[in-house]
């Protein structure tokens, strides 16, 4: 056992209101610079939909993430090192600006400066790249928001393409069948990050102390292999600096115990941030299991229980400090992922072992159920049966569990059970213990889970240990005052680099 610690995130999609505040606060703080006009470290997508960049989840096209070879090894989908070296100067798997969108602005000054004329002045749209007029804007980072244009665009959602064969009836993009939910996305800060392995310059790294994956802005040579190999398309190319940039998990904040901007500004209160301990020795194995349906359980098993004395001892031995261990024990993320098992990984089939997990959304009952006059007295009926919900479970499973519907259904049932249990409490009635029992939890556990999902105060949602770099010497190393400081420039703090392909045989 080789315990390592990572700051991980859980987003409860059932609470996401799709407001995009996270996107705006993130962009204002990090990417409203020249060269990053089109870059959104955090974005929110309406599903079903194509996402940003378009159809990013189609790895047949983009070749992101890992694949398991017949011999059981993991290999970057982008190909082996030789192929990647061969395509260094003409990477065929890079999204173009059209796949993202051509950032634009308007000739705002005309509103003030327009000379006397014959009509009301207007600010005409122009490209931020070329300065040329864009009279009819064609695509944006959130073009299909709220299913706008869905009849035309949503059928090209790679997940829709996958599940249509199974549940075509449910996905017809017709009024009565309408369903949607939002998916906010940041970098997954994976345990097995393809971007790190793909970088020819070794510029991407995963910090040992908190697992944050970063691009070294000095080392980066702009090869963009990280861009293509990231299956989530969360590494971007800054066209002004010629370097790659990505979500930093707001490390300047996280290091001092503050939550990321996207977390703190989440108006839906749906983000949770906390420590996860994992066994570094299990990562490769977990990422390479044969059956894709086993990827979620395998990753789940690679996490370590911080309350387990053996884990505690091993963690200390590997240099994890007490405050981190304590944070791990109080981690809301751990509880959502492990204790209540309501959070699931995003596209585990990419085999990068992502560390931003999601609670799947409930949805209104389908038209056929709604139209009926079934008995409202029945607590089970009040919230609709899981199989009667609008969002097809198969669709959620393609997103979160490599297509296995069982874990998704289990989560939705647990949420429904919590609501039924709490309704009794709400009305001052005695909850039926069978409800909790049916999802293999006790009533008390359901109530704890309820508090975490509903009440969770600021300090319950974000448990971020300070002193991420408890070692004062090391602190000196990367502090901005460094430049002026005559001592302590070396040695640096450790980081992890993944080599590709992994060398472990099964």
């Amino acid at each position: 056992m080789r315990p390592m610690a990572q700051i991980a995130m859980v987003m409860n999609l059932d609470k996401c209101i799709g407001c995009h505040t996270c996107s705006v606060t993130c962009k204002q703080a990090w990417t409203n610079r020249r060269g990053t006009e089109y870059v959104w470290f955090n974005n929110v997508e309406t599903l079903p939909g194509q996402g940003y960049p378009r159809r990013w989840a189609d790895q047949n096209r983009w070749k992101g993430g890992w694949e398991r070879t017949r011999s059981g090894r993991l290999r970057l989908r982008a190909g082996g090192r030789a192929r990647r070296l061969g395509t260094l100067f003409a990477n065929p798997d890079l999204p173009t600006l059209d796949d993202y969108y051509e950032p634009w602005t308007y000739e705002y000054k005309n509103l003030i400066d327009a000379p006397a004329g014959d009509d009301m002045p207007v600010a005409r749209p122009v490209s931020q790249i070329s300065g040329e007029p864009l009279d009819t804007l064609q695509w944006g980072p959130n073009w299909d928001d709220d299913l706008g244009g869905a009849p035309e665009h949503a059928p090209k959602d790679p997940l829709v393409e996958k599940v249509r064969e199974q549940v075509g009836e449910k996905i017809r993009f017709e009024f009565e069948q309408s369903f949607m939910f939002y998916l906010p996305r940041i970098c997954e800060h994976c345990l097995n990050p393809a971007c790190v392995s793909a970088c020819p310059s070794g510029a991407l790294y995963k910090r040992v102390e908190d697992g944050i994956v970063l691009v070294d802005q000095e080392r980066c040579r702009g090869w963009r292999m990280c861009v293509s190999s990231c299956p989530y398309k969360k590494v971007y190319f800054n066209h002004a600096t010629g370097k790659a940039e990505k979500c930093t998990l707001c490390y300047p904040r996280v290091e001092i115990g503050m939550p990321t901007i996207c977390s703190e500004t989440c108006v839906g209160r749906m983000r949770y941030l906390g420590v996860m301990l994992y066994d570094a020795d299990k990562v490769t194995e977990a990422a390479a299991v044969t059956d894709e349906h086993d990827l979620y359980p395998a990753q789940l098993e690679s996490f370590l229980d911080p309350r387990d004395p053996a884990v505690e001892a091993a963690a200390r031995a590997s240099g994890i400090s007490d405050d981190w261990l304590e944070a791990a024990r109080r981690s809301p993320v751990f509880d959502l992922i492990r204790t209540y098992q309501v959070a699931l990984p995003l596209h585990p089939e990419y085999r990068t072992m992502p560390m931003v997990w999601y609670v799947p959304p409930l949805s209104p009952v389908v038209e056929a159920v709604a139209a009926s006059g079934h008995d409202g007295e029945d607590a089970g009926n009040l919230f609709g049966a899981i199989e009667g919900l609008r969002i097809p479970v198969e669709y959620l499973a393609e997103l979160l569990t490599a297509g296995d519907t069982y874990p998704v259904e289990a989560v939705l049932r647990r949420m429904a059970a919590m609501r039924v249990h709490m309704r009794a409490r709400n009305l001052g009635e005695e909850p039926d213990p069978a409800v909790a029992h049916s999802v293999r939890l006790t009533g008390d556990e359901l109530e704890d889970m309820f508090r975490l999902l509903a009440v969770a105060k600021y300090e319950d949602r974000y448990v971020v240990p300070t002193a991420a770099r408890a070692d004062a010497d090391a602190l000196a190393d990367s502090h901005p005052l460094d430049a002026a400081c005559p001592v302590g420039a070396e040695p640096g703090r450790p980081v992890l680099l993944n080599l590709a392909p992994t060398r472990r045989t099964v």
């Binding site: 505040t21 009509d119 207007v122 944006g140 980072p141 706008g148 869905a150 919590m418």
Partner: protein, 1215 residues
């Protein structure tokens, strides 16, 4: 285990290479651990670093009032994130933090944006004229007059409005022009020819009060906005006698059943939506009612999608189920007890013979019974269930204004148990005729009610009438009753509503049953969040009354977790008394002129001329043809004559002239017809408004329903209004043959960004943004007071609204010397709500028009109150900047509770300092926004525990009920401005509002009524189902009733919905719901929001409609109707119902809008396709709760019933 030599030659390199580095490798060779310098990490740390963080908020009409951290680096505002320091709301519920939305998060973009107004601007052509005249004549007022007296020059600059050519001026010159225009107008026409428009004081109270104070001091009317925006739910004054009072969002958590009905919570209540998502986990069931698959439906357990505007039918059918199952089939003690105490259901109503049989008439009152008691005709009666005798219960309007010593204005029923129904086996019954309004149906339905003779009259109860109206049968009653829930032919049933709404009857029944069952089990914890989707219709109050009936029948009003959540407009200015005092300048003179916005715009943009809708078409078949021959303008004029609604300009003569003569003489002249009301000839040049100031608003790019009429008639510039078209034929109002263009001499606005309004203005003053000033904000959504605090000083030449108006006021006073001096101003005010004279002016709600010889003109009774106000025009600047002495003498008043503020004035003298010398010598200073904020807080009960407690003691004397304990815990607390800057401050429970925050409780409306038995401000003192005013009977709205959306085809000649015309165009319902990427027009031009949306004007439409006109997603379309033209791109989505398009509210023409194909001119805004339609019943006044107050009651600027023809246009666009 190591693998064999790899098949990838690169492996070898790695393998070899590892021995050449200092890096360490994991056992499986998967990872390298490297320890070289991470100095590059400083890149993002530098980016994050900042110098200071300042807390402020946003002054936009969004109900947010969110607290934000504004980051400053090197003196530059960089970005903002939400503050998380809200006071704790308790251990078992979520907190308010963080509050905010993407729009607010993008605000700092404006600070340095290229569309920022940095300097004063004047329309170039006007500035040249002014400079020339000023050189020639020296005197600024004469220079302005010189231009105005020359029709050619006046026309020239008017026609240049909105067409560029703004040039920089300096502050002194711009302010001089503004001041000169005001002086000239007042001198020539009178102060009521000036108008100010600035909405929503709650969103920045000092900034609002600054301009309002200037206008009040000079005697200029301020235009109302809540009703103009159609955000005012007219049902609220009708039912509650209250403008609007609702639960804070934290109280959603307490609800056990939640319906979101026409309120898209995640989009329009973004900072509060989490309460709704979280309350679901507490076992709350959520139902979304929306015609499209709106954002909020995602969170619902069920989605009901009635056809747009038919929600009232669904609510009535649900009420049918509730009444049948929970009142008639089974008596529900909780419900019965509630309605007996807190509603008018047990009260007696007389029945009278009409041509069509018996119809409900008026409430039976004590005078009808021959009782010789004070205010007898204002005391409705009920029967005692034990004795069967008539009882005059406490708490009626007559008790409210009683001068008697015994406090009887309370809801204590004593020993009497009101009789709810007169029904008994074998009892008397009579058939009454009730109106119905479904298209194509007969206009009358006949149903029996149990009756009795009381005081020589045939009466029944409101409850019995309600059962008849809702089609709930009881054995033995005559008339037409449904056979079952599914009976589709009988109005009122679930089956009937299905034919109108498309909502399955079974679903309506089930949801109604769940709703009432939950209300019974939870004792009233069912809530309906209702919003603009159901409130902006012509007949919205009929929809709302059906909603409110559901809530009131089930005992949900005045209960935490229950009741109506009407969140449309940030109407709750919590420290209302202090704000109102400053804004109305009632510390110096009373009364102020305050005007109904919709009435003003309807007249002065000449929309009345085009309004061919005959009010008689709205009448019930049981009506008495009261509106025969009348037009909308005639109704407005009648309302003005009868003193119901204010009207400015009031007379066809200057009120400064009338102020010099005896009031009796003025009345005599009116009666004789030698003096006329201006509303009776609105197009006469003497009756035009001449100067208008807009601040904190973008009237011309947002709320201007009938936008093109504004451009043509009010401003006199180009418009997209079709030429010609039919005009109305008024009965009483003079319609001049020629259209008038260009009424306004001056349009002034203050803004920090370029909008349609600034583009159209003659003078634009650069305003400070919300991160550059001191101010206060509050909302109905949370109970906290927030401060604005400058993160930086106003950059360039920007000034705060407060400083700008102070400059204007001072310059105005200078110029007034020699032109105006001290004058007497005759102020005509409408009969006023919450005053005995106003509410008891017109007994029985009998409409008598002295202009038609139906009664004598008696000021304050059958017509306006008339007051002479002395105005020292040379002292306006001095008075602006000091708290005047009237507050010492008369106190300050809200909702008829007058506060003695002697101690507060003494405190303010010390806190703010005192003025030395001049007319305000020794008075507290008000020369800065900060001091204004301090004054607002000191003069309001919500922020001053002493006043709150004092006010409750006043109410205790009037009601005989204990209440002061509600505020006593904070009696010594005085919230200062610095407190509000440091953190959000919870307000103190105060008689200014109807609910309680005592003990940290979540606020909900009317708990003081239900728990402390304080009556509602209505005729019966209870919540009303029945309204007996003549005009309400005329339109058939005495009881909740279903009225379909207006038939624009029949009424205005628009194509019938669904008509597919030549050249592939289709007629569709045109709805303008609030925008996800903007708050009204604010943020809609913001690059972040434009980028997250589609970057310009869009129209959402269904695939079916898109198919009909051959348009694909993102292709350009054009929408045309009799009011104007819009060009936009289509968003095609299956979430839209066929036959309806959405153009999200307030998408401006300033950004990315090309010229139209139809006219070749710039495309319009959403309101280019709408037009004001006045509903006569909104004009009622002088009768109990139906009595005017500012933003409390008035005609709404509704716009939902509109239709348009839409077609695909050329995809080549020209800008």
């Amino acid at each position: 285990m190591q693998q064999k030599q790899g098949d990838d030659p690169a492996d070898l390199l790695v393998r070899a290479g590892r021995f050449l580095t200092r890096d360490s490798f994991s056992e499986d060779l998967r990872t390298t651990t490297r320890t070289d310098s991470r100095a590059a990490e400083s890149f993002y740390r530098d980016r994050w670093s900042h110098d200071k963080v300042v807390h402020s908020t946003h002054g936009v009409n969004c109900t947010g009032s969110c607290r934000w951290k504004v980051y400053v680096k090197d003196g530059i505002i960089t970005w903002e994130t939400q503050a998380t320091d809200y006071p704790d709301v308790g251990p078992d519920r979520p907190e308010y933090e963080p509050r905010g939305c993407p729009r607010g998060a993008s605000f700092s973009w404006y600070t340095y944006s290229p569309s920022r107004v940095r300097y004063p601007y004047v329309r170039g052509v006007l500035l040249e004229m002014y400079r020339e005249a000023r050189r020639r004549l020296t005197d600024p007022v004469l220079a302005w007059a010189d231009i105005q007296n020359d029709p050619e020059r006046r026309r020239r600059y008017q026609q240049a409005r909105g067409k560029g050519g703004l040039v920089r001026a300096d502050w002194d010159e711009a302010v001089e022009i503004v001041a000169a225009a005001h002086v000239h107008t007042i001198k020539t026409y009178g102060p009521d020819r000036v108008a100010g428009f600035s909405p929503i004081p709650a969103m920045s109270m000092a900034s609002h009060a600054a301009g309002a104070r200037f206008h009040s001091l000079i005697g200029a009317p301020m235009l109302s906005f809540y009703d103009w925006y159609a955000d005012l739910p007219v049902a609220s004054p009708q039912v509650f006698g209250d403008q609007t009072d609702v639960p804070e969002s934290g109280d959603w958590w307490d609800a056990a059943y939640l319906m979101m009905w026409g309120s898209n919570v995640p989009v329009t209540r973004t900072p509060d939506a989490h309460w709704m998502t979280e309350a679901r986990y507490r076992g709350q069931k959520v139902v979304a009612v929306s015609p499209d698959y709106a954002d909020n439906t995602k969170f619902a357990d069920e989605w009901m999608h009635p056809h747009p505007g038919t929600d009232g039918a669904l609510a009535l059918a649900m009420g049918h189920v509730v009444l049948k199952e929970f009142f008639v089939d089974r008596r529900t003690p909780y419900f019965t007890d509630y309605v007996k105490h807190f509603t008018d259901l047990p009260f007696l109503v007389t029945l009278k013979e009409s041509g069509a049989g018996l119809v409900p008439d008026k409430f039976l009152n004590a005078r009808d019974l021959g009782q010789d008691v004070e205010n007898a005709e204002w005391k409705p009666v009920l029967l005692d269930s034990a004795t069967g005798d008539p009882v005059v219960p406490h708490g009626t309007l007559g008790h409210r204004w009683s001068k008697g010593a015994a406090p009887e204005w309370n809801l204590d029923l004593g020993d009497s148990d009101p009789l709810l129904t007169l029904y008994e086996d074998g009892g008397d019954a009579a058939e009454v005729a009730l109106p119905r309004f479904e298209e194509g149906a007969p206009g009358i339905v006949r149903r029996g009610v149990p009756v009795r003779g009381v005081g020589g009259r045939l009466v029944t109860t409101v409850y019995d009438l309600l059962l008849a109206q809702y089609a709930v049968a009881r054995p033995g009653l005559p008339g037409q009753w449904p056979t079952s829930y599914e009976d589709a032919d009988t109005p009122g049933t679930p089956g009937w509503q299905e034919t109108l709404t498309s909502v399955p009857a079974a679903q309506a029944v089930r949801v109604a049953r769940e709703f009432a069952d939950t209300a019974e089990r939870s004792q009233g914890r069912c809530m309906i969040l209702m919003g603009a989707g159901t409130n902006h219709w012509f007949h919205s109050e009929t929809i709302y009354r059906a909603f409110l009936a559901l809530l009131t029948l089930t005992g949900c009003q005045g209960r935490n977790g229950g009741g109506w959540g009407h969140y449309v407009g940030q109407e709750k200015c919590r420290p209302v008394t202090g704000w109102a005092t400053l804004a109305a300048a009632s510390d110096w003179s009373r009364p102020p002129r305050q005007m109904i916005g919709a009435g003003w715009f309807y007249l002065h943009t000449d929309q009345w001329r085009y309004d061919t809708l005959p009010p008689q078409a709205l009448a019930s078949e049981l009506g008495e043809s009261r509106f025969a021959g009348m037009t909308g303008a005639d109704c407005l004029a009648a309302s003005a004559r009868m003193g119901w609604m204010p009207s400015y300009p009031t007379f066809d003569r200057s009120p400064l002239d009338l102020g010099e003569q005896d009031i009796d003489r003025t009345v005599a002249e009116l009666k004789a017809g030698s003096l006329k009301l201006a509303v009776e000839d609105p197009d006469a040049p003497a009756n035009w408004p001449r100067v208008m100031t807009v601040w904190r608003a973008n009237l011309f790019g947002s709320s201007s329903k009938g936008n093109e009429y504004f451009l043509k008639h009010l401003l006199g510039t180009h418009s997209n209004l079709p030429e010609g078209g039919p005009r109305c034929a008024p009965r009483d109002v003079t319609r001049r043959e020629e259209d008038v263009e260009g009424k306004l001499d001056l349009l002034l606005c203050l803004d920090f960004r370029m909008t349609s309004t600034t583009l159209l203005c003659d003078v634009v003053l650069p305003a400070a943004t919300w991160y550059e000033k001191h101010d206060l904000s509050s909302t109905d959504m949370h109970p906290f007071l927030h401060a604005f605090t400058p993160a930086v000083d106003p950059p360039w030449q920007a000034r705060t609204d407060y400083d700008a108006f102070l400059a204007v006021a001072r310059r105005f006073s200078d110029l007034a010397r020699g032109h105006l001096g001290v004058r007497k101003d005759l102020v005509a005010t409408a009969l006023q709500h919450d005053t005995p004279g106003g509410e008891m002016a017109q007994p029985g709600g009998v409409a008598l028009d002295w202009g038609k010889g139906e009664c004598e003109p008696v000021p304050g009774r059958t017509m306006y109150d008339l007051t002479v106000v002395e105005r020292d025009y040379t002292a306006v600047g001095e008075k602006f900047a000091a708290l005047g002495p009237l507050v010492d003498r008369l106190g300050v008043t809200t909702k008829a509770v007058t506060f003695d503020v002697g101690e507060e004035v003494a405190y303010l003298k010390r806190k703010n300092g005192t003025v030395r010398g001049g007319v305000a010598d020794g008075r507290p200073r008000l020369d800065t926004a900060r001091r204004a904020c301090e004054t607002i807080l000191a003069l309001s009960g919500t922020s001053n525990g002493r006043l709150a407690t004092q006010g409750f003691h006043t109410l205790e004397r009037r009601t005989g009920r204990e209440m002061a304990h509600l505020a006593a815990e904070h009696e010594g607390k005085r919230v200062t401005y610095a407190d509000t800057q440091a953190a959000p401050v919870p307000v103190i429970t105060s008689p200014e509002w109807s609910g309680s925050e005592s003990g940290g409780r979540r606020y909900t409306a009317f708990t003081i009524n239900t728990e402390h038995l304080k009556p509602w401000h209505t005729l019966t003192g209870r919540q009303h189902f029945f309204l007996d005013h003549d005009w309400l009977h005329e339109v058939g709205e005495a009881l909740p009733v279903y009225k379909p959306p207006l038939n624009m085809h029949r009424l205005y000649g628009e194509p019938e919905l669904g008509t597919v015309g030549e050249g592939r165009e289709v007629a569709v319902r045109f709805l303008t719901p609030h925008n996800k990427w903007a708050i009204h027009s604010q943020y809609q031009d913001n690059l972040y929001m434009m980028t997250l949306g589609r970057g310009g004007q869009t129209v959402w439409m269904s695939p079916q409609d898109a198919e009909a006109i051959g348009v694909r997603d993102n292709e350009w379309v054009e929408a045309v109707n009799r009011n104007g033209v819009v060009t936009a791109r289509a968003i095609v989505s299956h979430t839209m119902p066929p036959g309806t398009v959405y153009m999200n509210h307030a998408q401006e023409r300033t950004v990315g809008v090309p010229r139209t194909e139809k006219t070749g001119r710039r495309g319009g805004i959403h309101n280019s396709l709408t037009r004001i339609m006045l509903k006569p019943t909104h004009l009622i006044g002088g009768y109990a709760q139906l009595t005017w107050a500012f933003n409390y009651l008035g005609p709404t600027g509704n716009q939902r019933d509109e239709v348009t023809v839409i077609r695909r246009r050329s995809q080549e666009v020209q800008f």
